[in-house]
Amino acid sequence: MSDHLVPVTVLTGYLGAGKTTLLNHILTAQHGRKYAVVINEFGELGVDNDLVVDADEEVFEMNNGCICCTVRGDLIRILGALMKRRTVFDGIIVETTGLADPAPVAQTFFVDDEVRAKTRLDAVVTVVDALNLPARLNDSPEARTQVAFADVIVLNKTDLVDEATLAALETRIRGINRHVRLHRAVRGNVALADVLDQGGFDLTRALEIAPDFLEDETHSHDEDVSSLSFAVEEPLDPAKFQAWIGALLQEQGGDILRSKGILNYAGEPRRFAFQAVHMMADGGFVAPWKDGETRTSRIVFIGRNLNRPRLRRGFEGCRA
């Protein structure tokens, strides 16, 4: 569906977590691929690549009625210019500053037609380090947002702490972002297949990590950011769902960082996939349900101030 679109990977993480190390690991790995890199911190460590674009993070608010719809103006310009080269990049990696909110980058891919025509957002990869993550999660709302927003988390510098600490950290990360793909690393040495081509914003791959879905509802919720997931066995009414999700995102889109769902619409052989970043939503029919498969509608919310009973009632109220 989107083979001709150049994948864009967003690399976030607070200062010192090891973003640049991971970036250089990706770029120097023997993969024969060609990447363009957009960086913001021309800093301590050099980035070793043919095409490095030094950008200022220019975030601006769209006047489109969505109060929280901010986009990266510099990315629109830079991606547009890169796409005018005949050279086909295998990917573009956007490194954000330490305190950056990933939402404006993601929303840029919902908002701009030219960006959408040539590129696709593949995934938000957040680098955290095992030694400092607990302190950052405690003192930095930005760090919590980066963990919550991620499709992939690279838990870096695992050689600096013991196994029990690592296990506790992973539990804490999952308390914020249940379904994130979590990889341990030392000096950013993850397998490239674990960070690239993740399809984190690909509707056809929405919730493909479903096996552990709804497993263990007892995660502690002492974080201000958490994930909630719901399932409904009966078919849904498309109009009811659209009305509910539309109103919900309008009202609570500021708090809901990301949401994703696979829905079983009444009388419809295909699955309906849905995703949103704050208020910016996107949806469409994807592959049909398999014969004999249980057609369960599932939805996940990651965000702040999520009210579990209210969201459950809302989702269940969409039954046909």
Partner: protein, 366 residues
């Protein structure tokens, strides 16, 4: 007109010279003396041809993509900006010289021809204003990245678009401050009314914004299905032609307009969007290039349409172009990405995303 519609490539076939470049055509321009046409690509190539007797030469002007192209302040040369962070001069004979090398992409370049020629180039948040001898007159600072440049008709002022609005600078060396025109949002291009009555910007939100310069009154021109990538005033300033819709949308800048006036829509192409527009330098004739590769000219007064080139092969149209255009050469495969009239309005140049470039002879013939 029916004959022309039956063969939308008639003008290209009978009066056109075409060439194929290996790259996305990012811009085209005619030299100030009108003798040379230039086409720049995303591969750093500039193709040059004499206007009177088309023959193409290609040179590599930049180490990377060319982002901007305009005529030099005088003579037969051109100025280019690239993502190799350089501002360069390309002479008619293909000689390339570096005017400046900085630390940012040179995304926009504009020149003014006159007794005192001026060159403006934008890199990041800065615009450098130079005289005709490339000496820096001053550096203009902005709070965010510059997205467009336009000189007024007399070279007295330079309009600069950026996030949050536009800045209007006097080009004289003594003036140090800009008039800041504020409007929330991302402004992605700028044009100045030829009599200095208004400054107009295109916006990320599929609309245009204008300021009446006499009193700063705001003008909003909205209703576009897509972003306006290209817009231009007519020579007399009565009309503003804009892309971003299926039809070419013209806003009246007379009789109190554009406020409270409905725009005029010139002929368009179904299922395509006007992406490049250019006004004829003398007459009220608009040329428009579309996302399907179609190029049309329209007379504003009579609404008559003259097709220049039919849709490109990307839209499923066969490659057949008939004899005379060379093997495998589609008319305009891919969206039109560059469009310009020459200074006396006797030629039209255009280029497309897939590298087709063309020069059309519009002059009257015996």
């Amino acid at each position: 007109m029916s004959e022309a519609v039956a063969d939308p490539d008639h003008l290209l076939r009978t009066r056109g010279a075409t060439h194929r470049l290996d790259g996305f055509v990012v811009g085209c321009a005619f030299s100030r003396d009108g003798s040379v046409a230039a086409f720049a690509t995303g591969e750093g190539t500039v193709a040059l041809t004499k206007v009177a007797d088309p023959a193409w030469t290609e040179i590599v002007a930049h180490d990377g993509a060319i982002l901007s192209l305009c005529a030099d302040v005088a003579g037969s040369g051109f100025l280019t900006g690239g993502d190799d962070n350089t501002l360069r001069r390309v002479a008619a004979d293909g000689a390339v010289s570096v005017i400046d090398k900085g630390r940012r992409w040179v995304e926009h370049v504009a020149s003014f021809a006159g007794k005192q020629g001026l060159i403006a180039s934008a890199a990041g948040k800065q615009v450098v204003l130079r005289d005709a001898n490339d000496a820096t007159i001053k550096t203009l600072e902005h709070d965010s990245t510059v997205s467009g440049l336009a000189f007024d008709a007399k070279g007295k002022r330079l309009a600069v678009s950026h996030y949050g609005g536009a800045s209007l600078w006097f080009t004289g060396a003594k003036s140090e401050t800009a008039r800041r025109l504020a409007w929330k949002g991302s402004h992605i291009g700028v044009a100045l009314h030829p009599d200095g009555e208004a400054l107009v910007t295109a916006m990320q939100e599929n609309e245009l914004h204008g300021w009446r310069l006499s009193d700063g009154h705001n003008m909003r021109m909205s209703g576009y299905p897509q972003k306006t990538q290209s817009f231009a005033f007519s020579r007399n300033g009565r009309w503003l032609a804009t892309g971003g819709a299926e039809a070419v949308v013209l806003w009246p800048f007379f009789g109190g307009g554009p406020m409270g006036k409905a725009p005029t829509e010139l002929a368009g192409v179904p299922d395509a969007v006007a992406v490049r527009v250019a006004f004829h330098p003398q007459h009220d004739i608009v040329a428009a290039g579309f996302s399907d590769g179609t190029v049309l000219m329209s007379d504003v007064g009579t609404r008559r349409v003259l097709p220049v080139c039919g849709p490109g092969k990307q839209q499923g149209r066969g490659p057949g172009l008939g004899p005379g255009l060379g093997p495998g050469l589609g008319p305009a495969g891919g969206a039109v990405s560059a469009l310009a009239f020459n200074p006396d309005g006797t030629r039209l140049a255009f280029g497309t995303q897939d590298g087709t470039v063309a020069l059309i002879d519009l002059s009257t013939r015996p």
